[in-house]
């Protein structure tokens, strides 16, 4: 199969959907003439022209709101945030407008919109540029939140997100845009809300999503050398969460570790842990352990980063702990 970059997979998804439906348009900072701050939308202005691909001023609140209004009135906007850190300027429109519109209007006005861009740390950028917002948005009913981990999933899920009639938060990573993976030539869609077992195993379940999937998979490879076979589940979407896939796996392995980049309080890992103890309590041979970023803002120096974000070693330690192995 052909191999393409994560950014190319996203571009293909947007391009195919824009060819298919003229109501889909792309708007964001530097997406048109500059070809995207991270080159995701490279060439899209050339293909679709300025009536479909819009550069905006640095005015996130304004253009996010524009997107919501346009979606209420028949269009299907893709709004790119240069990163989700900057979506905070616009969060009123995402939470109060996009997420709640359908319910508030008694079902009259839906908001078929995709807000997309990178989430989480991207190296040494300091606290304002390093936050994870997956759990923030997942906390809000009315939204769907998709966080793919590889090019294949990214393409199929982004296409589904654009076609979805509800507002979707689609989260990427600067550190993944260059990642390569197999993506077939033909069209395909992946369903929102379905997790994917990326590695089969019988001894322990590791649940993760997005950029942290690499940490989870690498830890699983290391553990295999010690004879521990981890099953690694990629949630792919954190709202809705595919609890069933997680529970089925935990019922089989009886042990679970969750790896998540966000800070720990009120995180996706807390939610999963609740759900697992609630629905698989009798199957557990050890408490569920999670590996999150430390409960601090992510600072600039490499030593702070090393001490703050989840890594392979912390994941392996957590697995050994749930297996009661040294």
């Amino acid at each position: 199969m052909r191999v393409i970059q994560f950014r190319e997979a996203l571009r293909e998804a947007m391009t195919e959907e824009m060819r298919r439906d003229k109501n889909v348009f792309l708007m964001g900072e530097e997406v048109a003439e500059y070809n995207g701050a991270y080159k995701v939308s490279q060439g899209m202005l050339d293909e679709f022209g300025p009536d479909r691909v819009y550069d905006t001023p640095i005015a996130e609140l304004g253009f996010a709101g524009l997107g919501v209004g346009a979606a209420m009135n028949g269009l299907r906007p893709i709004i790119e945030f240069m990163t989700f850190n900057f979506s905070l300027v616009a969060i009123d429109q995402v939470i109060n407008s996009a997420a709640k519109m359908l319910a508030m209007s008694g079902g009259q006005y839906g908001v078929p919109i995709v807000f997309r861009g990178p989430t989480g740390n991207a190296g040494q950028l300091g606290a304002t540029h390093s936050s994870n917002f997956e759990n923030w948005f997942a906390n809000t009913p009315g939204l769907k939140v998709v966080v793919p981990s590889n090019p294949y999933d990214a393409k199929g899920l982004l296409k589904s997100s654009i076609r979805d009639n509800d507002p979707v938060i689609f989260m990427e990573s600067e550190l993944m845009y260059g990642d390569k993976g197999e993506v077939p030539e033909g069209e395909y869609l992946l369903p929102i809300g379905v997790a994917d077992i990326k590695r089969k195993g019988k001894d322990v379940t590791i649940i993760s999503f997005g950029k942290m999937m690499k940490v989870a998979l690498e830890a699983a490879e290391e553990l295999a050398k010690d004879g521990i076979e981890a099953e690694v589940i990629d949630l792919r979407t954190v709202r809705p969460i595919d609890y069933k896939t997680c529970l089925d796996s935990v019922k089989k392995t009886n042990r679970c570790v969750v790896v998540e980049e966000a800070n720990p309080l009120a995180a996706i890992s807390s939610e999963l842990t609740y759900n697992i103890q609630r629905n698989a309590f009798d199957y557990l041979d050890a408490p569920v352990i999670r590996v999150n970023s430390m409960d601090v803002p992510l600072s600039y120096a490499p030593t702070y980063i090393e001490a703050t974000i989840p890594n392979v070693k912390r994941t392996i330690d957590a697995v050994k702990q749930v297996m009661y192995k040294k």
């Binding site: 001023p57 900057f86 300091g126 800070n263």
Partner: protein, 339 residues
């Protein structure tokens, strides 16, 4: 801080010391950042690193027009202001490296320099966020009955943030002693002012709020000084804010990885012809304020300062990773979620 010129035969407006300060401070900003650019190439400095090269007069000219008690705030293009205010170049360089001896102990990096001692209230990474904060800093001065003010910088791109407009209105409403400065360097990343704003004369935005608003030659340090001095007088007299649009230019890319396809080489060269440092140097020499020898002394001193700063940064220790838990709360025994 600036003294009026006392030498009768000089055609210059300010004292020798003022011109000397302008030359030396701008040269330090320039050489420091040229070095930072090189070090970024060697991966000594990571993340984003936005250079101020070309814009030095916007900081230096304002510093001489204000007092040491006035407060400063800007965006992420923030190395030059503290250097001009007297922050130790070694501490700034160490911050760019991410060392424990940096201005924020390696916490903030290039985009988030702070120096409370010099009243430099940050380096802020979210475009436009510093503008309502700058308003609040000025508000606190008025509230406390001081004669101090806040000078608040933003880029031409930042002007398009809604919060900026809310802040302008609030500043007029409460007559807050704040000087809003738009450093119009023509571009926000790859987007020219023309492509992001229906109003190209950015200073006129202030007029919608009846705020005294002026365009200023931001490549000329004297012009900057004069405009800020006037605005400061208004602020201290209780008349509230001023909006100054400094027309300036950044010679380098937006950050370190910018192919700069959005502008021509000729455009960059044109601005280099009006280089703020060369301008002030010419004024100094033409008016006999200093000799070539004295200028060379300054050049040497600055070179040494930059070398020392790099040496200091190189030799400084990395912060202890566990110090990530420090300075998150003022409360000393805050119970963090562990695991």
């Amino acid at each position: 801080m600036a003294k009026k010129s006392t030498t009768a035969k000089s055609k210059t407006k300010y004292s020798k010391e003022t011109y000397a300060y302008w030359y030396e401070s701008m040269l330090l900003m320039r050489r420091f950042e040229e070095k930072a650019g090189q070090l970024y190439g060697q991966q000594k400095i990571r993340g984003f690193c936005h250079l101020y090269i070309g814009q030095e007069a916007c900081a230096s000219g304002a510093i001489t027009a204000l007092t040491p008690d006035d407060k400063w705030i800007t965006a992420y293009r923030d190395h030059a202001h503290p250097l001009g205010l007297g922050t130790d170049p070694g501490a700034v360089m160490a911050e760019l490296y991410g060392k424990a001896t940096g201005t924020t102990k390696g916490k903030g990096g290039s985009m988030h320099i702070f120096d409370k001692e010099k009243n430099f209230m940050g380096g802020h990474g979210i475009v436009g966020a510093q503008v309502p904060m700058g308003l609040g800093i000025g508000f606190a001065e008025k509230y406390q009955g001081t004669k101090n003010l806040c000078i608040c910088y933003m880029g031409d791109g930042a002007v398009r943030q809604g919060a900026v407009h809310e802040a302008f209105n609030l500043a007029m409403l409460y007559k807050v002693p704040v000087i809003f400065v738009i450093e119009n360097n023509g571009y926000a990343m790859g987007t020219s002012v023309k492509r992001s704003s229906n109003v190209e004369e950015l200073y006129t935005i202030g007029e919608a709020y009846d705020m005294p608003s002026f365009a200023v030659d931001g490549m000329n340090v004297e012009a900057v000084h004069e405009a800020v001095a006037e605005a400061a007088e208004r602020a201290r007299a209780g008349e509230g804010p001023t909006l100054l649009e400094f027309r300036t230019y950044r010679y380098k890319g937006h950050s370190m990885s910018d192919p700069q396809k959005y502008r021509t080489r000729e455009e960059v060269e044109e601005y280099k012809q009006r280089d703020p440092i060369e301008q002030v140097k010419a004024t100094i020499l033409e008016n006999g304020l200093m000799t070539e020898e004295e200028i060379k002394e300054i050049d040497k001193r600055v070179k040494k300062q930059v070398e020392d700063a790099v040496k200091f940064a190189e030799e400084s220790p990395w912060p202890d990773g566990q110090d990530a838990f420090k300075d998150v709360y003022q409360q000393e025994d805050y119970p963090f979620v562990m695991e």
